[in-house]
Structure formats: structure tokens, C-alpha cells
Symmetry: C2
Subunit: 196 residues, 2 copies
């Protein structure tokens, strides 16, 4: 999505260790009118996919997932992060590793809010190693539901998580895919999903 690539290049900061900081518009301060456009673009890409529900994980995925759910006119469920393994019987849960925070957690969703009738679009802000998306897909499968696909705002293509998931046959749409960030210069993968 050209507008997003321009925004990342203009406002993102590449920090030492190949860390991309976009908390000025995406995950601390949120440019809401812009994030609504991102949600609209996700909705456009999945509008004919029979999505019944969006699943994301707290906290920074919630805003863009809300926007996508608004334009697809479906409910949103957000998984909660639990640090302990002490999980009740009334939930689906799966473990994941946070690349950003360097810790492990369990994602938890109440069994009330996912069913085998659901066709679920999984949405998150970042896609790096793919741990969060795989964890959420695991939860969808536990519920006997279908995965309609995944959507992320920014994929770090060089970390391989997105392509590994695509190789399993799951549709993954990322609105910007970064191929490299050498010397602070951000290079994007050509976007095949955007409307011409």
C-alpha cells in the first residue's frame, strides 16, 4: 500500500539492531484517520472471503483490527495475554514468543466467542517471525473454525515468518513488506495486493 510505505519512510525510525519504530502513528500514538484507511484496505482485500469474525491479540493490534472489523461489518475478538500457565477450562489457549518484548506468553480466548461456524480473519500490526499469527491460527483450529487468512500492517519480509505461513497455503496480506533496512534505508517488496 503506497500510502503506508510513504508514511513508514517519512515517519518511521530505524534504530540500531534493525528495529523499526513506528509508534508515532501505529502502536503508541495512533493516527486514527490513517489507521481507519488501513482497516478499510484490509477489508477490501478480504471482502469476498466470507469472513465472520476478526481475531487479534492485545494490545497494539486492537486499533487496526477494530477498523478492519468496522469495514467488514463483523465482530472482533481480541486474545488476552497471560503470563502464567494457569488457564481455565473455558478458554482456548496457545503459547507464543514476543520478538518485541523477548518473552513468552499464552494467548487466551474464551470458548464462548469462537465456534466451528466461524471463518476467521487474523489481524495484527506487525509480522516478523510469525509467532503471534501461528498462535492465533492454533486457537482458531482448536475451535474447529476456518482461517480465512491473515493480515498485518507491516511485515518484516527478511525475518521470514510471512513467507513460511504462505508456504503452508494460508493467505497472508501485509500492507507493507520490508525486504531490508540496511544503513537506515528501507526497501519494500513490490505490493501485489493493492488495487490498481
Amino acid at each position: 500500500m503506497k500510502l503506508l510505505e510513504q508514511k513508514i519512510t517519512a515517519e518511521g525510525k530505524v534504530l540500531p539492531g534493525n528495529i523499526l519504530k513506528v509508534d508515532g502513528f501505529l502502536n503508541h500514538r495512533i493516527d486514527v484517520p490513517f489507521v481507519m484507511e488501513l482497516g478499510k484496505e484490509i477489508a477490501r482485500r478480504y471482502e469476498n472471503s466470507g469472513v465472520t469474525k476478526i481475531l487479534t491479540i492485545e494490545a497494539s493490534g486492537i486499533a487496526v483490527a477494530t477498523a478492519a472489523a468496522f469495514y467488514l461489518n463483523v465482530p472482533l475478538v481480541f486474545a488476552k495475554k497471560h503470563k502464567s500457565g494457569n488457564i481455565s477450562d473455558n478458554v482456548y489457549s496457545a503459547g507464543a514468543h514476543s520478538f518485541t518484548h523477548g518473552n513468552d506468553y499464552n494467548a487466551v480466548v474464551s470458548k464462548e466467542y469462537l465456534s466451528e461456524k466461524d471463518n476467521v480473519l487474523i489481524v495484527d500490526d506487525f509480522l516478523a517471525l510469525g509467532s503471534a499469527l501461528e498462535c492465533l491460527m492454533n486457537i482458531v483450529h482448536q475451535a474447529g473454525a476456518q482461517v480465512a487468512g491473515c493480515a498485518s500492517i507491516i511485515e518484516k519480509g527478511y525475518q521470514g515468518g510471512g513467507d513460511r505461513i504462505r508456504a503452508t497455503g494460508v493467505r497472508v496480506e501485509s500492507l507493507a513488506i520490508i525486504e531490508s533496512m540496511e544503513n537506515g534505508k528501507i526497501v519494500y517488496r513490490p505490493d501485489e495486493g493493492e488495487a490498481k
Copy 2:
């Protein structure tokens, strides 16, 4: 807001210990079209207040704060919860107590994203003892910014936090105020803020 009161009465569950469970539409599964209407109503109540920014706290306030920010056409900042006291110099932080989780935490906002030029509307999903709102007001004051007011979706009037904050002269708008939940019957305070 009559529609909200009807929704709480129809879909909310009163659990032992006077706990109101609304995670079927507000804070786990999110009825996004409905939550957008809640955000629109918050925006309507503050449309002439010169709000420059909305401040909320992760995680369950983010969806409705995104909706309110969309209709007010302002950015949103969400405070992050830190368990440790190990906070950097580049942030504002203040302590709060979670009534829901029974623990203490620090709310943290980067100094980059609040300034003395801001007139801040503080939004959260629940208002009980008022600890989260007071903590966020503290952060706004640290930034030298103004508090335009506070908005919550559901206020537990019998816990007194909202009225204590109103008594200090701060405007607090709650879209539904619960006066009592005796024997599972929810009684609402008359709503003076709704458009006739």
C-alpha cells in the same frame, strides 16, 4: 445512552460479588458496529470542547477510544501498563490500581506524544473507583496539558469514582451509569447527557 442500557440489560451478566460481565460486546468479543456508535456518542458530547487528542490505557479501552478519535478526527495515544517501577526518563508515568485484576501497575506514556499544547479527552471502558482516570489525568498534568474531560462507557455509580472526580470540577461523561445491581437487577441513573 438508552441503546447502551438496553444492551447491558440484555447481554450483560451479573456475577456473584456484583461483577458485571460485558465481555460479549465490549471487552473481549467487541461488537464493532455498536462500539463505533458509542464512540460517535462520546464525540458528540465533546464536539465543541476543542479536544486535540484522546488518551486511553491498554487494552480494553483501545477499541472505543479509536472510535471516539475517528469521529472527533484527532489522534489517540494509549498508555502502556508496566508492572515494574523501572521506567525510562523519556516517559510520563503514574501508578494505578486495577479493580478488575486486583493488582497495581504503572501507566506509561512517551513524552513525545503529549505536550502542553494538548487538550486531552481521557477515555476508558469502565469507571469504578476512578483509579485509571486519575492516573491518566496525572500524566496529562505532568505534560503541562489540559484535561478536556473524561468519558467512560459503563460507570459503576455506586463505587463513587465518577462522582468524586466530578466534584473536583472535571467533566465526566459516562454513557451508562449503574446505580445498583441488587439481585441481578440493574438500575441505571437517569442520563442527562443524551441528545433529546
